[in-house]
Amino acid sequence: MRTINFTLNGEQVSAHVAEHQSIVEILRDRFDLFGARESCAQGLCGCCTVLVDGTAVSGCLYLAAFANGKSITTVEGLATNGKLTPIQEAFLEVGASQCGFCTPGFVLMAGQLLEAHPDPDDDDIRHYLSGNLCRCAAYPEIIAAVKLAAGRLKAGTT
């Protein structure tokens, strides 16, 4: 067991963790954050996506101990004072979630995509989101939502 100190959605926190525990386990059990979810447990579905120092990782494979000194952002940390981000707004408007279990992962990855490619075409979007799975297959809507958000961010209308 060891104590880790890290920034969680902008707040300084600490936790006592075992070496084998993943960050997604700690977020769920110690911090009541359920948006990052373990699903495939192999880093292949994207449901457990969290940002570590601004970069997306599979939270089911990322050991909690590695978070020491880092800044972790989860989907719960995106909206501020109840105001959704442009990507969340676009997902909501287009109807890009069905069961919603994969949605946080897609929202976070779409954020990474638009940081790297503010004006992505369909292939960029597919390529960037290929590590996130949606069994309900809202893929056409997800592509539409990412484009809507990109357009608005570019135009500065949000």
């Binding site: 075992a18 084998h20 525990q21 769920r28 059990d29 954050l33 359920f34 948006g35 990052a36 979810r37 699903s39 495939c40 447990a41 192999q42 292949l44 579905c45 449901c47 989860t74 989907v75 719960e76 995106l78 909206a79 959704l84 969340q88 997902f91 909501l92 408007e93 109807g95 979630s97 069905q98 069961c99 919603g100 279990f101 994969c102 949605t103 946080p104 929202v107 369909d122 979007i125 597919r126 390529h127 989101l129 290929s130 590590g131 996130n132 799975l133 949606c134 069994r135 309900c136 297959a137 809202a138 893929y139 056409p140 809507e141 997800i142 592509i143």
Partner: protein
């Protein structure tokens, strides 16, 4: 998709999902989120053999591991549930293996601990010695196999047509359904052409991204089960039966589901967590891993032999033999065998039909409902067969279908008249969207292009009941109580739209209370595209009841008919303060007549679903690689209640079936699944789907549906597999009869057609 609103403008409008904001912020409520005081978690130890007697079970090393609270076997379970067998059709499935195991992955013991890692490690220390028994895996072999899965059949008694099977021995047939209409033999004797083909569907599974999860806790008044279930009312009734308790001592609560697709029906983990909680008097939660989903429920693999008589371009007779691979426990397989079995001849007007449909036990993971309830397996066969006949007869596949399809007013194989089933319209719209009559560019190099269509239909599961309650509070705000489970299909939103339409309020303002059997009334289950129709009708009736009571209240307090006095003022006038409720109730069960000895009935279903698919493909003839470039889904959904959600349901269903068509297959080695993970079992990702996907709901009304609507969750699946196989033959001349349609299969078929087959 076009918007067609009615009356208050609530039905027919693309209302954003009520829970949309909760889902995009990660705050939606799932069983996954539940943590109860002093909760233990369970890890399941599973069978490693497909069929065997348990000679000894050694749990001592597991028990001795520090941190383990308890190790539980069937003997412990029997102290709280003496007869621990459950199931919707047969009481054949034990809560834990009882003396025998029937498939690889069957739960044998459970370790309880507060730390899931300790429970998992302890489970790996359990040792079992098996006496292996002969096993059977293939559904056709199971008909005659000497290996018999169950010593004795145990029908549940829920379905009267299974009672005759009680106590039957030495058979793997859990149900055989037979239908005879007209005189098929005469039709075959008089035919110009007779065609016979056999098709196979492989074993695949649902893999909702939220794996199965259930938790149970004892309360002052009984037992509460929190579960990711599509059938809370069934869970309550079945757990009550197992415990010998009245229904009101068992409370079942269901928040949102992270996908269901038919997997989370009936009893999955609920009986286990209930028994464990009663044993240890502490809350218990079990969350399965992705791998464990492969040992819980699959879709039925199926073999379908279909034979048709054709005379003057008309199909005059059809024989259908279908064998359904039900796995080790019946689950709902017998229902699939019958309720889907009777549509095996397809949406065609055929006077002489015989159907033999068999539900078989095998030593595989149990099979159950999966988005289509058996229909995609049937359409795969009859629409491939239809295309092969058209091709052999040198007829245009759309024209051949048009000459033979079932039109409204004509009787389907059961004798039930078709009504509000837009088969022809679906076909017409597909042809139009595919630009069918225009010349088609086929490609010149090694990459050949082709196109295909297919259309299928489905009956609803009948007779089933839904009940709803609409509560109007003293300020006029409205709450709906119903046990329909929103697993992503948008039922909360659609039901809110029905209430809103009747009461003339915005759908967004209606609160929908999630299934909680202490609070929400009975509903058969959320399955088979039944809910929008059955629950929709119940919700509409409940809202109309509330509306009538509001009118009565208005009269009582002296407000003239048709005046615009706000609802809150009516309550104020009556109670002199903000107080009171108006409760409206609605209950719906459609008419149904059970089939006679020949499988015939005038009322087989309250409504028909129709779905068609058009596909364009490119086949690389040097590698066998198939790229589906266009996939068009056209369906009769009645009136679309929420056009945007209808579109997502159509394309989502089509994409799921696209995975089952092109890439998904459970691989087996002696009954052992060798690809039980997302690393090896690949579901469609965003890069796999066709670049051009189109969806359309044809102009249609379901006369008996709520505001003209009917179910939509499955219709997009029906035509996908045969449309693509038909397109592949159109492109490169080879016909595949076994799913999935992999590059290897296409390449092998191409080589065989060239007279230089590949070795195995």
């Amino acid at each position: 998709m076009a918007t067609r609103t009615i009356g208050s403008g609530q039905v027919g409008r693309s209302v954003p999902r009520l829970e949309g904001a909760a889902k995009v912020t990660g705050r939606a409520d799932y069983v996954h989120n539940i943590r109860l005081p002093k909760m233990l978690v369970g890890k399941i130890f599973r069978s490693t053999v497909a069929h065997g007697r348990i000679k000894s079970l050694n749990v001592s090393a597991a028990k001795a591991l520090p941190g383990v609270y308890r190790v539980v076997t069937i003997d412990d379970i029997k102290t709280v549930i003496p007869n621990p067998f459950y199931g919707p059709a047969f009481h054949d499935q034990p809560i834990l293996a009882d003396g025998k195991v029937h498939f690889v992955g069957e739960p044998v013991a459970v370790v309880l601990a507060t730390d899931p890692h300790i429970a998992e490690e302890a489970a790996s220390l359990i040792e079992v010695d098996y006496e292996e028994l002969p096993a059977v895996f293939d559904e056709v072999e199971a008909m005659t196999s000497k290996a018999v899965v169950h010593d004795e059949l145990k029908p549940a008694g829920t379905f009267p047509d299974l009672k005759h099977l009680k106590g039957k021995k030495d058979t793997n047939i859990a149900l055989d359904f037979h239908l005879r209409r007209g005189d098929p033999n005469k039709a075959f004797a008089a035919a110009d052409h007779v065609f016979e083909h056999t098709f196979r569907s492989q074993q695949v599974l649902h893999v909702p991204l939220e794996p199965f999860v259930s938790a149970a806790e004892l309360t002052e008044t009984g037992l509460t089960i929190h579960t990711a279930s599509q059938s809370p009312s069934f869970v309550r009734i079945e757990i009550s039966r197992l415990l010998g308790w009245p229904e009101n001592k068992v409370r079942v609560k269901v928040p949102y589901l992270g996908g269901g697709f038919g997997a989370k029906l009936y009893i999955k983990l609920e009986a286990l967590v209930a028994a464990l909680t009663l044993l240890v008097r502490r809350p218990v939660k079990i969350s399965l891993t992705m791998e464990e989903q492969f040992y819980t429920l699959t879709k039925h693999a199926a073999t379908f032999r279909i034979k048709s008589a054709v005379k003057n371009g008309k199909i005059t007779g059809r024989d259908c033999e279908v064998w359904w691979n039900g796995g080790a426990y019946a689950d709902i397989g017998p229902r699939i065998t019958q309720k889907s079995g009777f549509t095996a001849p397809g949406p065609y007007d055929i006077d002489n039909v015989s159907i033999d449909s068999y539900s078989l036990y095998t030593n595989l993971t149990p099979a159950g409902a999966l988005r289509g309830f058996g229909i995609p397996q049937l359409v795969w066969a009859y629409e491939s067969h239809t295309d092969m006949m058209a091709r052999a007869l040198r007829l245009d596949p759309i024209e051949f279908r048009r000459n033979n399809i079932l039109r409204d007013g004509r009787a389907q194989a059961t004798g039930t008249q078709m009504k509000d089933a837009a088969v022809e319209q679906v076909l017409d719209r597909l042809a139009l969207r595919m630009n069918w009559t225009a010349p088609f560019e086929r490609g010149t190099g090694p990459v050949k292009k082709g196109r295909g269509i297919a259309v299928g239909f489905k009956a609803s599961i009948s007779p089933t009941t839904s009940i709803a309650i609409v509560n109007v509070a003293a300020d006029g705000s409205v709450t709906l109580y119903c046990s329909t489970v929103d697993m992503g299909q948008g039922s909360d939103t659609a039901n809110a739209q029905f209430v809103a339409e009747v009461l003339n309020v915005p759908a967004e303002s209606v609160k929908v209370v999630h299934p909680d059997t202490d609070v929400t009334p009975y509903d058969m289950a959320t399955l088979g595209s039944r809910s929008l129709y059955h629950m929709g009708n119940a919700v509409r009736l409940a809202a109309e009841d509330a509306k009538a009571k509001l009118s009565a209240l208005a009269r009582e307090v002296g407000v003239p008919e048709g005046s615009n006095v706000p609802v809150a003022e009516l309550f104020q006038k009556k109670y002199k303060m903000q107080a009171g409720n108006i409760i409206g109730t609605g209950s719906y069960i459609p008419n149904y007549v059970p089939p006679d000895a020949n499988g015939l009935t005038p009322e087989a279903t309250p409504f028909w679903m129709v779905g068609g698919t058009g596909a364009e493909v490119e086949v690389d003839t040097e590698t066998g690689h198939v790229r589906v470039t266009k996939m068009i889904s056209v369906a009769d959904v009645g009136r679309p209640v929420n056009p945007r959600i209808v579109e997502t349901q159509l394309s989502g269903a089509a994409t799921m079936q696209f995975g089952f068509t092109m890439q998904e297959k459970i691989e087996l080695d002696g009954g052992q699944i060798t690809n039980a993970s997302f690393a090896d079992y690949k579901i469609p990702s965003i890069v796999d789907i066709p670049r051009d996907m189109q969806n359309e709901a044809v102009e249609s009304e379901q006369g008996t549906g709520p505001f003209g609507a009917k179910g939509v969750g499955e219709s997009g699946t029906f035509g996908v597999s045969p449309a693509i196989a038909n397109a592949i033959e159109d492109a490169c001349g080879v016909r595949l009869t076994e799913l999935p349609l992999t590059a290897e299969k296409v390449y092998r078929a191409l080589r065989e057609a060239q007279g230089r087959p590949l070795e195995d």
